[in-house]
Every structure is written in structure tokens, then in C-alpha cells.
Subunit: 334 residues, 2 copies
């Protein structure tokens, strides 16, 4: 992804493995958009911390971080403990489990863990690029696209899932406009998606999550594209809290609603969204906006981090194998 | 309303007229919930500022402020200019125009402006109390009620509109629980509604606006009650941005959706919501959360302050004349 620092534009990834120093590097997403800093993890515990504390977020980037973390676990001669610790960081992201199990298997089979991890990450990057190209086919010149949270390059090492089609459309010279849900409570839309679009030079406006329905009803939204954290066999999917609201509003206003996700996000072991565990995070994320206390002392909050959107609201899943209808997910060969 | 200050509990109104000092007093809502301060306006320009800068907000409280502001305009011997300035502060609130016109008429007819304003405000208080009693009849013991923004005592001088039924239910000993949408961008739910409920001792949890749909879908919301800024003849109504989203989600999840508003909020001169002008406020309200910048430098935002919810989503309007169905609004005699 492009990252503007002062007058220069760097080409960066959100997570990388530094073989020379046996370390995992991150763009520290807790610091964006106000400053661009890197976070270096020198052992698997620090990688686990980076995942848990949201230095890195987004299912595919978490998967990549976990794969690289397993390299460190291998060098620390504790791959099993590393696997356990990494898996315990975030309960909802399927990619995390996928990556750790892939690495454990490779290590047990005596394969080079660096090569195994880089192959895993390369598949993610390849998937995102293909998602970008398939999704681009759905975008016409002049379209106004709404997205929720950050399913961008930061979330997927590079390109993004939901943002990949927009990147490719923009690079193709299509004039697009993106409505960016700010995405309370952690504001990944306002702070991360807007930052990526700004770096990429894509026109956009940040809106309160409350305003998405208003603009849909006024005919100002041509399409919604979001990412996913886990997709069940029937097409129900978990994603950032508020995704369900946008999906209902999109259908009510006849706006096509797409989910962009690599095959690794599909979990055919679960039949429906009823089987997806929803993580509840600290109430402080709601009681504060960034560092500002917004609520009176003494008030409580509830903070589900994800919600489940039923398949009936989804027009299609944009994957590296093309655009798939919910009813065809069971045919996927993983 | 009850206001806890240290160990004592005061009985206060959100706006009052101080005849001795010819001044209008306000609980300064910009400072809540972190500190309780009053704002004193000594002339009509200061009242206009208080309305424009949201020292006072909520349609009925703005109406009361404007009525009191007209007393000052009368003493400053500029009632026509005062009327013009007060009307120019906020374009969406019908009560504002209603109050100013009522006062202008009284002044032209040679009536005592203090008495005219106090009569106007007393009608507001009486209406809110009746709304509270009618709304209370809809609430069963144990109900979990969702509300958006602040349609509480702060917004209506006392009692509230949407919060009045909850106050009366609680005073009747019903055990109720309130889901409080934080209500970005200005966070009136988290900062004001939660503060009122806390003072009143009503159990509640603040949630990100994104989470309302999730809790409705999980069967955790028994009823929605919101306020309104303007209601058209066909039952379409304008209220805080995000109200439309909650209404669509409530219908999708078969949760009864009520609007609590006095008759002064009904504007039978407009046929439908298409005729309601939506105020767009500064993009900084979205780019910041309170004083924290949340977006990168260079990103833009859009900030519609209200949206219009079509009548079909409304189960009933809770008014001082009882609960009215949208289709019966035309029968109202104002």
C-alpha cells in the first residue's frame, strides 16, 4: 500500500517478517492516523500482545501475524505453546486459527517455517489482488460506494478485501467516491480506512455510522462493500459491529450489498451464524472515544465487537475465485 | 428533573426565566456530563447564541428558550428583530417557530410577555407530563427500552418526551432497563440521556449506535421510544440522525417503535417528510469526538444532523392527547 510520509510515498505492508533479526514488524495501527510508527515483536509473546492489543487488526492480517509469530515460536522451541497463546488472543477471527494450524502442521512435517509462513502470506496477498480484480468488475465509473470498518491493506497485509476493488477501480481511472462509516467504538473507518483512501488519492467522506441509512434513502449510495471475520456455510457472516445494520438498510433501500473475503475466511465447519461466538470487549471502548470520556461516571456500557448478518442480505461474496452467491458457498473446495 | 450535585439532589429545569434579573438561565448542556454549570443570557442575542451553540438543545427546550428570549427582545424594544434572530438559529425545530410566533402575537396584542412565555412553557411541561403518563401505560414491568439521542428533561425543560414514560414507569416501581444509543456525532445519548437516567436511578447501558441492531436481533429490546423534531401530516418525522436506521431495524425485528412528542411538534402545514429541510452541520463534529481528532488531516466528512423516518415504521405517536396512529394525525386539532 502507498504510505505518504512527508513528501515521499513509501510502498509498505501492514505486517512483515524480518528474517535477519528474527522479528515481526507491524505498522502500529493504534497510532494511526495521527502518527506512523512501527511495532517490532522479537518473540511470539510480543506477537500475541500485538494481536490482542490491536497493533494489528483485520482477520487476514491477524492470520499473517500469527503465521509469522509461529516462526518465532519455532525458534523459541515452543511451537505448541506459541500456538496456544496466539489462538487465545481473539476468539472471532477464523484466519487466526487457520494460520496457526497451517504452521503447526508444517512444523510437525519438518518444513521450513519461514517458507511456510511466507507461502501462507503470499496466498493472502494473491487472494486480495484477485478479490480486487473481481470486485472491480462490479464497479462502474462514477459509483458511490459505502464501506464499514477497515477491510483495507492494513487489515490484510496489502490491497485489502473490501478496499481492494476500490483500489483497482481507482487505478483503472474510474471516478469513484467512498462513504466511510466512522465505525464506533474503535473508529477504524475514520482513522484507518480514511487514511488508506487519502494515501491512495481516492475521494471520500467520513460519516457518523448513524448517517449511512440517511444517504442510502436519499439515493446517494450505489453499493456497499464490507469485509468479514468469519463466514458460515449458509452465508451468514460475522463482521464489525454495525455491519448488520448497514445490511438491513441496504436491502430496505435496494442497494446491492457485497462481502469481500478470501476463502480462508469461510468456515464450512459451522452451519450458520448461530454458531459464531461474539466477542464482548471492554466497556471503556464505548465510554470513551479515543482518550475522551464521553459518558458520566457511574454509567455502564455494553460492547459487542461483532455482529452476525444473515445470508439473505448479501448479494454476493467477492472472493479470489470470483463472486459467489450465499447459496453456492457449500460448493467451495477449500 | 433530579440533579445530583455532591451529596444533595436538586430539582432543576433545563431552561428558566429569572424575572428579577431579566435573564434566561440554562443548564449548560455543552458541559455535561462532566460538570454541571449554568449559562445566563442577559439579552436576546445571548439566547440566540445559546440555541445556536447548543447550550440548550431539544425541540421543546429550544421553544421555551425562544419564548423567554422574546421577553428579552420585548424589553430591548426589538421584538421583530429578536424574532428574526431567534428563528435563524436552527432550521429544523418546529417548536422554535411556534414559540416565536406565539410570543410575537401576544406582544402585538399587548399581552404581558412574561405571562405569555410562562404559559407557553407551562403547556410544554403539562404536555410532557401527560406524555409520560400515556407512555407509561405501554410499558410492562421488566421491559428493555431503546432510545436514541436525548429526548429527556434537558430537551424539554422537564420530564422529557421519550424519557417521560420511562420516568413515570420507574416512579411506579416497574423494573425497566434502558439501552442508550450514544448518538454520534454529538453523543447526546452517552453524555445527556445516560446522565439523566443516572440521576433518576434508572438502570441502563450505553451502546455504540452500531450495536442497536445486534441487540434487537438477539431479542434484547422490547420497545423503542424516540423523540421528534418535526412531524409531517402523514406521520413522517424528522429526528436526530440515526433515528431512521433504528426504525428500519425495529420493524425488521418486530420491535414496536414509538415517537413521543407534544402536539407542538406536529406541523400540519407539511404533507410529508419530503418537505422537511435537513440541517447539515460542521464536518468537525464528525472529524472529532468531543475534543479528540479521530480522522487524518485531509479527510472530509458529511454531517447531516437529522434524518426523516417514514410513517410506516411508526407504531404510534405518544402525545398529550394519547397514543395516535400515523394515519390519524390529520384529525388533530392544534
Amino acid at each position: 500500500m502507498k504510505v505518504k510520509i512527508g513528501d515521499s510515498v513509501l510502498e509498505m505492508k501492514s505486517v512483515w517478517y524480518d528474517a535477519e533479526n528474527r522479528a515481526v514488524g507491524f505498522i502500529d495501527q493504534r497510532k494511526l492516523p495521527h502518527s506512523i510508527e512501527t511495532y517490532i515483536a522479537n518473540n511470539y509473546s510480543e506477537v500475541a500482545f500485538a494481536i490482542k492489543d490491536m497493533v494489528v487488526r483485520g482477520a487476514p492480517a491477524i492470520g499473517a501475524a500469527a503465521a509469522y509469530g509461529m516462526i518465532l515460536g519455532y525458534y523459541e522451541k515452543e511451537p505448541e505453546r506459541a500456538a496456544e497463546m496466539l489462538k487465545s488472543t481473539r476468539p472471532t477471527a477464523h484466519d487466526l486459527f487457520h494460520a496457526v494450524d497451517h504452521m503447526l502442521k508444517s512444523i510437525r512435517e519438518g518444513k521450513d517455517p519461514v517458507e511456510a509462513a511466507e507461502n501462507y502470506v503470499m496466498r493472502t496477498l494473491d487472494a486480495c489482488e484477485r478479490i480486487g480484480r473481481y470486485g472491480n468488475d462490479l464497479i462502474d465509473d462514477g459509483m458511490r460506494i459505502l464501506t464499514h470498518c477497515n477491510a483495507g491493506a492494513l487489515a490484510t497485509v496489502d490491497y485489502g478485501t473490501a478496499l481492494a476493488p476500490m483500489r483497482f477501480a481507482h487505478r483503472d481511472g474510474k471516478r469513484i467516491f467512498v462513504w466511510v462509516d466512522e465505525t464506533r467504538p474503535r473508529l477504524q473507518g475514520a482513522s484507518l480506512t480514511a487514511w488508506e483512501l487519502l494515501n491512495e488519492g481516492i475521494e471520500h467522506a467520513i460519516i457518523a455510522d448513524n448517517a449511512a441509512g440517511h444517504f442510502m434513502k436519499r439515493g446517494k449510495v450505489d453499493m456497499v462493500i464490507v469485509g468479514a471475520d468469519r463466514i458460515a456455510k449458509n452465508g451468514d457472516f460475522a463482521n464489525k459491529i454495525g455491519t448488520y445494520e448497514k445490511a438491513v438498510l441496504a436491502r430496505e433501500n435496494k442497494v446491492p450489498f457485497y462481502v469481500a473475503a478470501p476463502l480462508s475466511t469461510f468456515d464450512l465447519s459451522i452451519d450458520s451464524g448461530d454458531d459464531i461466538v461474539i466477542e464482548e470487549r471492554s466497556e471503556d471502548e464505548v465510554l470513551y472515544a479515543q482518550d475522551c470520556r464521553i459518558a458520566p461516571q457511574g454509567s455502564n456500557a455494553r460492547n459487542p465487537a461483532f455482529d452476525v448478518t444473515p445470508a439473505k442480505y448479501v448479494r454476493g461474496f467477492i472472493t479470489e475465485k470470483g463472486v459467489i452467491k450465499p447459496k453456492d458457498i457449500w460448493k467451495l473446495r477449500m
